[in-house]
């Protein structure tokens, strides 16, 4: 008798049902949608905005088929592309009254059309790679050496001010490659300096060296500090890229770290690479300028300025609190002089504060400016898209030297964090370079999908026709198992949201072509057992059992190759490897367990089984007799 215990049958049925459910979203296709996300770090999405979007749509007479609020975006699902365009224009008009200074990006997107109950159980369509949906892919290399030199430059400024404060006389600080070299006349002073440095700069490794009459102190960054600086640099660059890419209005950008020093940027649907490259490479600038306090205090002048007539040499800006102020056009410092900005607390009052670090040249300028302008206000501006925004406008209380600036007063911790982020957003922590670029037009993407699917389809049909012709009912069982394999594979890919690429589709085809091997092995074994005179039931049992060892061995060797590709492959090879490995795993289950379950359902309950439909079983003895 060939019967599966209940749990095995149940496993097969449950697996098939789940496979079907998770494959289902791929058949519904996608519907047009409008996606709203914030462009500026100061503007956050909230439920009020959602209400505004709803009102706007209602006012325009557009009935959305769905509205989803997510942490970083609001998505509106619409019936067709015409309403999509109408809705986009309406929302754009309502949210961004001034096109030149937009706070939100309103982008066209596609959302899965599958019913909500499917989306609710996390059943989503497969995630298509850029080569299938079209778009731009960049691989950026972050110059880690640049990050370290930048940091060393700012440390050397710190050392200068530190030694000045402690009245330690040195003969100059020079950066040589990745080290800072400080010269001294006497060893006693050097010892003093070394003591002070160890206390104040825990990140440095100090080494004494002699150079003729000079006594040197060679400082290098500790490996842990280097690592920290590099990690910070890459995070910082990713944040900056995020801010910039938001401006492009891309629906689902991917910005990820790859390896220790690389960043992948993928912009689906973007065709204008020139603009994308421009935005990626651009430095949103930060400017420090003086506030014209006298003019700002005069309400009439301020009113006139708000109406577009600011006094000569000044510009009108609105502070984040909503108050207007007049800022001189002359730039004191630019963001290039800023090496770091961190939120923290004031050392004495424990108020939230933002700590800025300037490089050596910046520190000198800043010292002069603050000395001359005590009790006046200075404005820190972030210039985005040629439009300035006052991040903060603090009062100068004393002369500030040494390049360490603290902005405090009337700030909450959240605000301090936001300001620090904005200040950092203006600059990249380390220079970056595009080392790989791939652009795929949308027509080519659709073409790739069509070609990938038709090759899989025709290959599958050819195999199915052959198998059924050669093995009859057992062939049908094999083909059904192969279909189940395809179902499981697509379901897994959808569930894991692994990126499907053209090599991935090729891997689906190839894996199906290889998976049939297991069923051929089984069918041949069953025939062989029949040839040797076994009863049909015994032949089925023996065929499946004996083929199992071979199937396992051969799949494991294939899997070894797949895993190696997964580990070492990148880009297209990884896309291939993921599908290949998953396909091998699903094929073992479907070709052995699912096909056996089918055979058991067909033949298992028949007590007297005379023959099975597995095609002609030729016996060598029959002709010789």
């Amino acid at each position: 008798m060939n019967r599966y215990p209940l749990w095995k049958n149940a496993t097969v049925i449950i697996a098939l049902v789940l496979g079907f459910l998770y494959t289902l979203p791929n058949f519904f296709g996608e519907v047009p949608a409008v996606q709203i996300s914030s462009v500026k770090a100061t503007v956050k999405l909230d439920t009020r905005l959602q209400a505004r979007v709803e009102e706007t749509l209602a006012a325009a007479g557009i009935q959305p088929t769905g509205l989803f609020f997510e942490p970083h975006s609001i998505r509106v699902r619409l019936a067709d592309t015409d309403t999509q365009l109408k809705a986009r224009d309406a929302i754009e008009k309502a949210l961004n009254p001034e096109p030149a200074d937009s706070s939100y990006s309103v982008a066209l997107n596609l959302l899965s059309a599958s019913p909500d109950w499917l989306t609710g159980m996390n059943a989503l369509p497969m995630y298509l790679g850029l080569d299938l949906r079209g778009g731009v892919h960049f691989l950026l290399q972050v110059d880690m050496k640049g990050a370290l030199t930048k940091r060393l430059d700012s440390i050397s400024a710190d050392l200068r001010s530190l030694m000045r404060d402690k009245s330690i006389r040195h003969g100059g600080i020079v950066r040589e490659g990745n080290t800072l070299v400080v010269r001294f006349r006497e060893t006693a002073i050097r010892d003093q300096a070394k003591f002070a440095l160890t206390e104040n700069q825990p990140d440095l490794d100090l080494l004494e060296k002699e150079d003729g009459p000079n006594h040197l102190l060679v400082a290098t960054l500790k490996p842990t500090a280097q690592k920290r600086i590099q990690e910070f640099a890459i995070k910082q660059n990713i944040t900056t890229l995020h801010n910039r890419i938001n401006e492009l209005g891309v629906a689902e950008p991917v910005i990820q770290q790859q390896g220790a020093d690389r960043i992948v940027v993928q912009l689906p649907g973007v065709q204008d690479t020139a603009k994308a490259k421009d935005i990626l490479g651009r430095t949103a600038t930060l400017e420090i300028r003086m506030v014209d306090d006298e003019a700002s205090a005069n309400l009439d002048t301020l009113q006139a300025a708000a109406n577009g007539q600011p006094p000569a040499g000044t510009e009108y800006y609105v502070e984040r609190g909503g108050r207007g102020l007049l800022v001189k056009k002359q730039v004191v410092l630019t963001g290039e002089r800023l090496t770091d900005a961190q939120a923290g607390f004031d050392g004495q009052t424990q108020e939230p504060a933002v700590h800025l670090t300037l490089d050596a040249a910046g520190a000198r300028i800043f010292k002069d400016v603050t000395r001359e302008n005590v009790n006046k206000r200075m404005a820190i501006l972030l210039i985005e898209k040629g439009k300035g925004e006052v991040v903060t406008a603090p009062v100068i209380r004393t002369e500030i030297g040494g390049g360490r600036v603290q902005i405090s007063g009337r700030m909450t911790t959240v605000e301090a964090n936001d300001v620090a982020l904005l200040l950092r957003a203006g600059s990249l922590a380390a220079p970056m370079e595009i080392i790989e670029e791939r652009t795929i037009g949308p027509s080519l993407g659709a073409d790739n999908i069509a070609k990938g699917i038709s090759s899989t389809q025709w290959g599958f049909i050819a195999i199915a026709v052959f198998m059924i012709a050669y093995y009859l009912l057992f062939g049908l069982v094999s083909v059904t198992a192969l279909t189940a394999n395809l179902l499981f594979l697509v379901a897994l890919l959808s569930l894991l949201q692994a990126t499907l690429t053209l090599p991935g589709i090729a891997a689906v085809a190839l894996t199906l072509g290889m998976a049939i091997d297991a069923n051929v092995l089984i069918n041949e074994r069953v025939r062989e057992e029949l040839r040797n005179g076994a009863t049909p039931h015994a032949a089925i049992t023996a065929g499946y059992e004996r083929a199992w060892g071979t199937i396992l061995d051969s799949n494991i060797t294939t899997l070894i190759a797949g895993v190696a590709l997964l580990i070492f492959g990148s880009g297209p090879v990884r896309g291939f490897a993921v599908v290949h490995c998953l396909g091998i795993l699903t094929s073992i289950f479907s070709s052995v367990v699912v096909s056996r379950a089918l055979v058991n359902w067909i033949y298992g309950s028949r007590r007297k089984l005379e023959s099975v439909s597995i095609g002609q079983v030729w016996k060598p003895g029959a002709e010789t007799k």
Binding site: M467, Y470, D517, E528, S554, A561, L565, F568, P620
Partner: protein, 314 residues
């Protein structure tokens, strides 16, 4: 339907020497072409810029070449890709060039006329290409070690060695084809080569499984007879399986378009040579290495408890 009606075991091993000599000659030829011609690596490996451009009418390649040359692009390659309306342009990597190059090429193409539509742009910097080549080599090494260790553990070291020799010989022959015809060796082709390596080891595994089983069941057969029996009784499965896989690959070759062309081609060569080598190259090597019945009888005693008598194999 039954294709294979074999009454007696086919004496494959009588011709073992012939098979090995044929293999050796193809292998040496492949190595020769690899050494003299080298592989035609895609820009993924060499670095550079590639543009796929679509025209509404058949493109005038000569005109495009002249325009590019007059705009200062040296050593560019302009070829048709898939159809006469699609053109592929490769610009080699030069020191100091950045990703901006593709824009200048595009401007030059626009100047050449014919309303080109950029379908695809790829730019690969020098550091990426070098890493890819290293990673490819490492992946190959890992596959070889993994398979040898697994087969040595599941079977015997003699099987492991001969399977890997037979299948590496396949890989070298695929590469030899790519070198001889100067087909483009791209990342998907590399993936295909490694997949073939894993796949054709299957073949050897199936035969070896039978060899082991026959050794255990049948007494009094010589080693060549055992191998002949094993190959004969699996030959029908070998042909049918490979035929099925090849149907899929052929379908890719026909319907997959230019993007999958070389991928499918590498698989085709791999599958065809895989049948030959894993059956007719691996088995003689096992024989030369001196496989014998005693190795399995002894191994049987060492088996841990709970394992089936025949080692759970075909």
């Amino acid at each position: 339907m039954e294709f294979f009606r074999i009454k007696k075991d086919i004496p494959f091993m009588r011709h073992a020497l012939v098979f090995n000599v044929i293999s050796l000659i193809t292998f040496v030829l492949a190595v020769f072409f690899l050494a003299t011609r080298g592989l035609h690596f895609s820009i993924e490996f060499t670095g550079g810029t590639l543009l796929e451009v679509g025209y509404s009418q058949a493109a005038d390649l000569e005109k495009i070449r002249k325009q590019l040359e007059s705009d200062g692009f040296e050593d560019t390659q302009v070829i048709n890709f898939g159809s006469s309306r699609d053109v592929l342009i490769r610009v080699p990597l030069k020191a100091g060039e950045t990703a901006k190059l593709s824009e200048r090429v595009n401007a030059s193409l626009q100047a050449a006329g014919g309303e080109p539509q950029i379908k695809r742009v790829e730019f690969v910097g020098p550091q990426v290409g070098k890493e890819l080549a290293e990673d490819g080599a490492l992946a190959l090494l890992l596959v070889i070690i993994g398979i040898v260790v697994y087969l040595a553990f599941r079977f015997e070291w003699r099987f492991a060695i001969s399977a890997i020799i037979a299948n590496l010989h396949d890989v070298v022959i695929i590469l030899g084809f790519f070198a001889f015809f100067q087909w483009e060796f791209s990342l998907p082709v590399l993936a295909a080569v490694l997949a073939v390596l894993g796949y054709s080891v299957n073949e050897s595994v199936v035969v070896f499984d039978r060899v082991r089983e026959t050794f255990k069941k049948q007494r009094g057969l010589t080693t060549p007879e055992v191998i002949n029996h094993a190959i004969t009784s699996t030959i029908s499965r070998t042909i049918i399986t490979h035929g099925s896989t090849q149907m899929m690959v052929t379908s890719m070759l026909i319907f997959g378009g230019a993007a999958l062309h070389y991928f499918a081609l590498a698989l085709t060569i791999g599958i065809l040579f895989g049948i030959y080598s894993s059956v007719l190259v691996a088995s003689p090597i096992v024989m030369w290495l001196g496989v014998s019945r005693e190795q399995f009888i002894k191994a049987k005693k060492d088996k841990p408890e709970g394992m089936t008598e025949d080692g759970a194999c075909v």
